[in-house]
Amino acid sequence: MSTETASRTESRGILDRLRASPFLSDLLSNRLALVGIVLIGLMVVVALYARLFLDLEALLRTQLGENPTLAAPSAEFPFGTDRQARDILPRVLYGAWLAMLYGTVTVGLSTVLGIGLGTLAAYYGDVTDNVIMRTMDVLLAFPSLLLALAIVSIFPDELGLWRAVIALTLVYIPRFARVIRGAALAVLEDEFVDATIALGAKDTRVLLRHLFPNTLAPITVQSTLNFGLAIIDIAALSFLGFGATAGTPSWGLMLSNGVRFGLLTGQWWWSLFPGLFLAITVLGFNLLGDGMRDALDPRMREAID
């Protein structure tokens, strides 16, 4: 009985703290951000369903002779079939899993590496700061997709979509490093950091206990907004022929084939559905990221009050 009361008080404590957080309450009162969360949630469900219940081998295999080739959407094939007579619907669903998987790895890697470099630059300053940030400046001097294109060409084709992941991670790191360095510098100006150092805290303690939690908000916004971009860029590289290997049910590659072989001859379904799913996913992340940014911006908050 007493333990139950204790845990209830504790859980209420967390809920109260969540409710008291102006960031979360602003975010949840933002209808567009909620739509974003719903769209992302739907895509995650689709992705997990595809991963658990669809057989990738079967999706890769040509279905010539078994299914009609280039059939328009019908009750049997809601998204139609492609030139290999493959049913497009399950392939598009599996594309959600690929987009989420490769998107998460790309954004995750560039966030982690960006946090590392950005915090080091801000905390140690001087030479460390200069070396790191000037290197970032050089990487930022290229239009992002072009740099990714050039980097992708280093790696062998067999790596497939992982080539795109490596290239885009390198391309995105500078953005994260910049945002995080800025946020970290602002936190370092605060007196509580001086106080902690004066009390004899080690570097790692200052970095992990004080700096990192206080830069979490801008990092989250940047990651969310970058998620949409990563999914588009991975698809773009596949579209240009530098990503998914032939047959892979990735949205970018399906779009590429649909456009190249099916557009002028009128098989619109071939490119319509992969692109539609791609756009919905990216829209979800952009809606959420936008809402987060508004919720974080104190000037916007004043406007709401």
């Binding site: 980097i151 022929g241 557009l263 990216v282």
Partner: protein, 350 residues
Amino acid sequence: MAVSIRFVVKRLLLLIPVLFGVATIVFSILHLSPGDPAIIIAGKNASAEKIAEIRRSLGLDDPIYVQYARFMIDSAQFRFGRSFKVEAGLTVREILRIKLPITLELAVYGQIAGIALGIPAGILSAVKQDTLTDHLTRVGALSGISVPIFWSGPLLILVFAVWFSVLPTSGRIAIDYRVPAVTNMITVDTLLFALGRTLENGFDTDHFAAFGSAVRHLILPAGVIGIYSMALISRMMRSSMLEVIRQDYIRTARAKGQGAKITLMKHGFRNALIPVVTVIGIQFGTLLGGAVLTETVFGIGGIGRLLVEAVQVSDYPVVQGTVLAFAVLFTLVNLFVDMTYSYLDPRIEQ
């Protein structure tokens, strides 16, 4: 004059180390790439002596630091040798001189479309904050950013070129027209051609047929780019306008009896435009990068398409030259944006 010569010179000098780094990255990428350029040039069945000879003539046998130094010196002069696949025989400089204007022209028209649509949309959204108009404009803008060009482009081709046949599917001009290349910007060249003919033979709408064809070919690609930039520009215009109309000087202007519309345009718009200019500049850089996609979708032979093809067949001189050209352009555009910024808002420290 808010932008001093000193500021410009200082910023240009600061570009040197960045461009040095850029060239180093290009050099490293190409040297890490698999495949021997000598074999690519000579062909797979070439004899060992032939390949060795090509390696020697390209300087591939020299130590890596010698190759690096030579590359840096060549890059500084923008000399990359001749293409050996994509446009075999032409020097990279010649290829870029022909193809760069094509890419720039497309980016400029796309950006004009984006500005023309984005600024009014942003102002409307800000003035009608939190109404249905505002919500629709904002969702529209976010959708514009979320829809990839390589999907919206093909869909527009499908509707306007395949189903309704009102616009061409791809290319820059109908093949029936032969117009001398002066600037390599198709709208400028066709217009010059039409004006020349008009001066010679008097006015006739036939002279402008080629120009009309060029414009019709530009509508879809520029439109697709325009939708994308409109989204970013209108978003920035909205938030910047919202911030400006809360300022004291706006209240003062209203208090002294100035009408709402005049205040908005005279005091609000000009100040709200400052961050928008930055976005337009950054956008222009992004457009250059996006050229690889737009040009692929619409079959336009600018440097975007050139780079994709060169990477596919490992045409190293072309890859080097194109990537460096893109980076230099991108950097210069960013520099120009910074200068405009401090010109528009003299409070910004130089």
